[in-house]
Symmetry: C2
Subunit: 422 residues, 2 copies
């Protein structure tokens, strides 16, 4: 078991507006879980392994609630379209290449390498419809020490021939894939109906059954783009709002397994009610929502309404796999939202973005994203020495600077459940 | 004189919507100026020094039309206020430290080091009101090989006691500073009334006289924030718009020296007319305008109106000294502007952002920002090998990827007027 003492300057979120700060202190991790932060090492932990990061800034690991590993190769290009034409012209073609195990191994290798370099310790990931390449990917992630949910994607309608399953095949391969996933310790399966338009009612019904029987979590997309919202209402005429369409099939929370929905940009009141009642997580993807001209999710409003929110990088619509960079983008996007809609109270602070990226999203994984006692020992050590300045900074300012000006070069060390993985 | 042949894949802007592309070709630089791009080295240039960058992407140097070197130490923090309170609470205090030559040397050293690492070859820079530290900074820039305009700032009203000059001192020290600048070859002075509210009518009149006598260029700020616009109209009651206030004092173009105005977010029709008529350059600062919740400048509209536009990083309101990163931000900000204002034709493309960052802003320096014959031999060589992907990319896609996912690590070499400076 992992028993450790880490020394440095600690910052973590107690809530969306409360930052806990402990400078020059000692974090005790016992059996992979946080035991506490102390000004000196208490004698009972004197025998624990000592990792000295004096002067470095230490935070809980960052959590990525939504990203597409199979789109890794097309990040940063072809950003000239909105969601539906972007999917049809670029994304589906790229994902279809993952039928080829060799191509999959290469790209998923790049993805895993970058995820390791980043501040992310846990991620919720879309693979593609191909279960064999998805399993190869999960092998890689398992070895990395990162803790991830990975989804073999389900698509049986409104999809091009080269990236579409029959309903029966989709269900069968999903069940087989879930069985194979029992071999993993760090890497867990998540049910992944791509989005409502890609899955027939029969397929959604079958996935819902698996969700009920296995308590596996579910990930999908919700209300990213206005054309998409209109399309869902056409496809599911007895759903008054987009979320009701998922809800009708039992895929919108309120059952054993957790649910996370990416985007949630264009929400109606009923959607917000359902998100809250059913404790569905929102993966806020600010870079993606800018790049596809989707808009900006009303995060401040969702937080006030008591909805659970985290950050998603949404590669490849989002160009960056860095959650810290998405923290900055979340603040910037909220400012433009506030400016154009004339709502001054709509702006996210650095403190709030940090909450979303750690404790907010971390809850999807259980007791994750805090240094309070009993939380998983997920830790990032930042070295901000190369961010030159004539001034000294407080820990809160150092965190803000890392959001705005940091790069992977600042991620010095990383632990998951007390195990050093970088 | 600099006589060179560079080998690689070339991309440059012919206009805002026309990208010239020459793969596996040879750029000839003769006496520091572009001679042409050829598929093979013509025999008459066979004796030129040969720099082989096979497989690398080569563009004109990037131009930063607006940044504040004296704010370098506070980039990435304290982004919780709008323009006027941000200046009063944070910026003026930081700039006042530049009375101390030692502090100035340290911070300007960091600034110069970062500028060298970036894709920028030319920049237009605000220093502070302190002429001695400004000269020390210009010494550093001169040695770097970068070609920059640097301004000793003028402020004699509406400024805190610790960062305010008397009118007479401001004029006197400006004149002395200009004389001292004759020692430089790469680093040229630019007149720098901070912004209309900081300069008395008497000071503006004196600066205008110098502008007329010396043909030195002028830099200032225009229409960044709605409170600022309202304040200027109060201060200068016979100006109907903000630009008219500068124009009244002969500081808004139409004379010998060029003029660049940062921001131009909230423009009235009269402002756009004056910008165009007087060939005043707009420095578009997208990151800064997001961070201070200023809004988004209508760049597409300005380009259509025939206004000259380039990119400014505006450190420290902008967190990044990278013009390439600001290209990405310009596209993203334009998309949110388009989304919230419902104007689909408002979105900037990567091609347009590249134009702004090279040829658009380059014109402020003369024949700069292109590989057409007779342009200055300003060159950036990008190595994009570390941006992993399973795909091959066209030169235009490689450029877009550098905007979205590149870092300083991708800037492999840099030339200014044919001289290798990195």
């Amino acid at each position: 078991m992992e028993n450790l003492v880490l020394h440095g300057d600690f910052v973590y979120s107690k809530s969306s507006d409360d930052l806990a700060i402990y400078e020059d202190s000692y974090l005790i991790i016992e059996n992979g879980l946080v035991q506490g932060i102390y000004p000196k090492i208490p004698p009972e932990f004197a025998g624990f392994a000592f990792h000295d990061f004096v002067g470095k800034l230490i935070t809980p690991g960052f959590v990525d609630l939504h990203t597409h590993a199979a789109q890794y190769s097309i990040k940063g290009i072809q950003m000239d379209l909105e969601l539906l034409p972007w999917l049809n012209n670029y994304v589906f073609k790229e994902e279809s290449k993952f039928a080829d195990e060799e191509y999959g191994a290469k790209v998923y290798g790049y993805f895993t390498d970058e995820l390791l370099k980043s501040s992310t310790t846990r991620a919720v990931i879309f693979a593609s419809i191909h279960s064999k390449t998805t399993l190869n990917f999960m092998d890689m992630l398992e070895k990395s020490g990162l803790k991830c949910y990975v989804g073999k994607v389900n698509m049986d309608r409104n999809s091009p021939d080269y990236l579409c399953e029959t309903t029966a095949d989709s269900v069968k391969s999903t069940k087989e894939w879930i069985e194979r996933c029992s071999a993993y310790k760090n890497t867990r399966p998540i049910l992944t109906p791509r989005f409502f338009p890609s899955c027939s009612e029969e397929l959604l019904t079958e996935l819902s059954k698996i969700h009920g029987e296995t308590n596996l979590p579910v990930q999908s997309h919700l209300s990213e783009n206005l054309s998409e919202v209109a399309w869902v209402k056409e496809l599911c005429s007895d759903a008054k709002t987009y979320s009701e369409a998922y809800h009708k099939f039992g895929l919108f929370g309120g059952r054993g397994g957790k649910v996370v929905m990416a985007h949630c940009v264009h929400l109606e009141d009923r959607d917000i009610e359902l998100l809250k009642e059913n404790q569905v997580f929102v993966a806020h993807c600010p870079l993606s929502n800018m790049n596809l001209t989707s808009g900006v999710s009303p995060i401040k409003k969702l937080l006030k309404a008591g909805v659970k929110v985290g950050i998603g990088t949404d590669v490849a619509a989002g160009e960056s796999l860095s959650v810290t960079e998405n923290c900055k983008a979340a603040i910037q996007a909220s400012k433009l939202r506030s400016h154009f809609l004339g709502d001054k109270f709509d702006q996210l602070t650095a403190k709030e973005a940090f909450f979303l990226a750690t404790l907010g999203g971390g809850e999807f994984f259980g007791k994750v994203g805090s240094f309070e006692k009993g939380y998983e020992g997920d830790v990032v050590v930042f070295d901000d020495e190369n961010l030159k300045s004539g001034r000294k900074f407080s820990p809160a300012e150092r965190l803000e600077r890392l959001f705005y000006t940091g790069t992977y070069s600042n991620v010095f060390a990383k632990y998951v459940s007390g195990k050093k993985i970088k």
